[in-house]
Amino acid sequence: MTITSPPGQVPSPLAAPKPAKQKQKGGGFLRYLITRFLLIIPTVFILITVVFFLMRITGDPITAALGGRLTPDQLAARIHEAGYDRPLILQYFEYLGKIFTGDLGRTLSDNRAVSEILTTYGAATLELAINSVLVALIVGIPLGLVAAKFRDRYPDAVLRVLAILSYATPVFFAGLLLKLIFGVWLHALPIAGRADWQTELQLTNLQAPTGIYWLDALRSGNMAAFGNVMEHALLPAIALGLLTGGVFLRLVRTNAIGTLGREYVEAGRSRGVSEFRLTTKHAYRPALIPIITVMGMQIAMLLGGAVLTETTFEWKGLGFKLAEYLTARDFVAVQGIVVLLAIIVAVTNFIVDILAALIDPRVRY
C-alpha cells in the first residue's frame, strides 16, 4: 500500500479501504503478512539489477577511480585482475550470488568490505533517523491539531506556510543557519560530530555497544556523556526533523479536519465534552493512523535527507561515508551503499505496512 501511493497526496486508509477479499477474519492477517513479505523480493531485486547495469553502462569502476593515475597497461591489468573485462551478464550473476551471501564487494579507495561499513556506520544513521523522527512527531502532531482546530483562520494560515517552508528549506541550508545561529553566534551548541572525542572514546570502549550513543550512555549510567551526546544530536535532529515534521503537520491537519466533522465528535460536543478534549482525544486518535502509513514513505525521504544532514554536520554515518566515497569516485563503495540503503528502505516499508495492518484492519488485503 505504501509503495503504490503517489507522492504528496497520501491516500488515507480511512478514505480508501481495500474492501474486496475479506471473507474470513482469521487467516487474513497472516496471508497479508506473507504476500507483503514476498513483495520485498522483486522490489529489491529490480533495484539491484537497475543499479548494477546503470553503473556499468559507462565503464568499469577502476578506470573511474584511478583513471588519471595509472598507465593504460597498469589499468588494464587491474581491470583484468578484478574481472571487470568479462561479459557483463557473467559479472551480473556473480554479483547477485555474492549479494545473496551478504558480500557486497570491497571498496576501492580503502579496501574495506561494504558490509563492514554498514555495521560500523549504520548505528549512527539509525540514531539520526530516530532523533529526527522524534522531533518531527513532537513538532508535527500538536501543531497539526492546532491547525485543524483553527481551520482557515490565522493560526492555520501561519502553520500552513510554516509547513511549506519546512519543505522548501533544503536540510543543508537549515543546517547552515542552525550552525550559524547556535554554534557560531551564540556559542551554545557544538556544530559538528556526534560527541566530543573523549566521550566518543568512552562510549566505543563499552562492552557490547549498540552504537546508538545516547542509548549507550544511558545504559552505562554516564550522565555527562549523555549530556554531551544530546548537545551534539540536537541541531542535526532539528534540521532533518523539521523537514519530516512539516509533512506530519499537514497530514494531521487534513485528517483531523476529517474526523472533527464526524458525528461522534458532534455527539461528544452535545454531551458537553470540552473542545480541548474533543480535539486531543476524540479527533486525534483516528487521525494518527495515516501517519504510520506515511512514515513508511518518509523513510526514503529521511534517508535521502540523512545523506545531506550527515554531510552538513560531519555526522559519521552511512550518508557521510557515501558522500566521501562519491568525492573519491569509489563507485564500488557507492553501489554497495546504495544497494544497502535500498534494502533498508524495502524492509522498513514492510515493517511499517505490517504495523499499519495491525492497527487498522481495513488495510489488509
Binding site: M55, V307, T311, F331
Partner: protein, 325 residues
C-alpha cells in the same frame, strides 16, 4: 477545468486561463497565498531571464579593470551581498543561479512529462505483460530515495564531472528518472478508468486504431491533473538539483552558477562566521520553492470544491449568477 461550469458562461477567454481563473475564484487567505506564490515565482523567472542585465558581474568573474576582487568581503559598497572565498560576487552568482535552476527544471519536467505520459498511456491502455512489468519497475524506482537515484544517474551520465550544458542536461536527466514513475502512475490510473467509458468503446467499435484512441481520445482526458503535479515536481527538481550540487555533483562553478554548490562552499565559511556566502543562495532556493509550492497548492485547493473557500459576498454572487444562467 471544472471552474468553467461555476463561472459565468459569457466570460472572455482570458478569464478561463488556468491561473487567472484561479485568481478570480479565490478570496481571503487563499488569494493571499496564491498572490504571494505568484510574486515569488515571477521574481524567480525574471531573475532567470534577465540575469545578464540584473547582475553587475559575471557569475565566474573574480576581477575587473581595477584588479582582483577582495575575497570574502562583507556585504556593502561595491558588492552588495559580499564576495565568496574565490572572490566571486555573491549577488551575481545568486541571480545567475536562477538561470541554471530554470533550465534544469524545464528540461527535467518536459522530459519526464513526455516519457512518463507516453509510457502511462501505452501501459494503461494495452495492459498485459508490458503493463505488469512497467508497474513493478515504477514501484521499485518510486520506493527508492530519489536523491540516491539521482546520484547514480549522474554518475552514469557524466561520471560526476559536469560542465556547462552537459552539466545541466546531466542534472535534468538524473531528475527525470526520478519523476517518470510519478507521471506514469497518474496517467496510467486515469487511462485505466477512462478505458471503460462509452466514448472509448464507441471509438473502438467504429474501428479506430489503438494509437488513434490513445492520442485523440485518451490523452486529453488523462492529463487534466498534470499541471498540479507539474508545479510540485518543479520544486522537487530544484531541491534535487541543489542536493546534487551540495554533494559536489553539480555543475562546475566556472561553467554555471548553482545554488547547491555555492552552499557546499559556504559550509566552511559558516564555521568562521561568514554568513553571506550561504544565506543568499539558500534563501533563493527557499523562496523559489516556496513560491512554486504556494501556486501549486492554491491551484490544487481551488480545483477541489471541498477545499475552496468563498467569502460570503462572493458565494452569493456565484449562486445568483448560476441561477440566471
Amino acid at each position: 477545468m471544472g471552474t468553467a461550469t461555476l463561472s459565468k458562461a459569457n466570460q472572455s477567454w482570458a478569464a478561463k486561463l488556468p491561473i487567472i481563473s484561479h485568481l478570480r475564484m479565490s478570496s481571503g487567505l487563499q488569494r493571499g497565498m496564491l498572490v504571494a506564490g505568484l510574486i515569488f515565482s515571477a521574481l524567480f523567472v525574471i531573475c532567470a531571464v534577465f540575469a545578464p542585465l540584473i547582475a553587475p558581474y559575471d557569475f565566474a568573474q573574480s576581477s575587473d579593470a581595477n584588479g582582483d576582487f577582495p575575497r570574502q568581503a562583507a556585504p556593502g559598497g561595491q558588492f552588495i551581498w559580499g564576495t565568496t572565498a574565490s572572490g566571486y560576487d555573491v549577488f551575481s552568482r545568486t541571480v545567475y543561479g536562477a538561470q541554471t535552476a530554470i533550465l534544469v527544471i524545464i528540461a527535467a519536467v518536459v522530459m519526464s512529462l513526455f516519457i512518463g505520459v507516453l509510457l502511462g498511456l501505452i501501459s494503461g491502455y494495452l495492459g498485459g505483460w508490458f503493463d505488469r512489468i512497467m508497474v513493478v519497475l515504477a514501484d521499485a524506482i518510486y520506493a527508492f530515495p530519489s536523491l540516491l537515484l539521482a546520484i547514480v544517474m549522474s554518475i552514469v551520465i557524466s561520471q560526476g564531472q559536469s560542465s556547462l550544458y552537459g552539466g545541466v542536461m546531466a542534472a535534468a536527466i538524473s531528475i527525470t528518472v526520478v519523476f517518470i514513475p510519478q507521471y506514469f502512475r497518474v496517467v496510467r490510473a486515469e487511462v485505466m478508468r477512462l478505458k471503460a467509458e462509452p466514448f472509448v468503446e464507441s471509438a473502438q467499435v467504429i474501428g479506430s486504431s489503438p494509437w488513434r484512441v490513445m492520442f485523440t481520445h485518451l490523452l486529453r482526458n488523462a492529463t487534466r491533473t498534470l499541471p498540479l503535479i507539474f508545479t510540485l515536481n518543479a520544486t522537487e527538481a530544484l531541491l534535487t538539483l541543489a542536493g546534487l550540487g551540495f554533494l559536489g555533483f553539480g555543475i562546475e562553478p566556472t561553467s554555471a552558477s548553482e545554488w547547491g554548490y555555492d552552499l557546499n562552499r559556504a559550509m566552511s565559511d559558516a564555521t568562521s562566521g561568514i554568513w553571506w556566502t550561504g544565506l543568499f543562495p539558500g534563501l533563493a532556493i527557499v523562496l523559489t520553492v516556496l513560491g512554486l509550492t504556494l501556486v501549486g497548492e492554491s491551484m490544487n485547493d481551488l480545483n477541489d470544491p471541498r477545499l475552496r473557500r468563498f467569502s460570503r459576498k462572493k458565494a452569493k454572487r456565484i449562486t445568483q449568477a448560476g441561477g440566471k444562467a
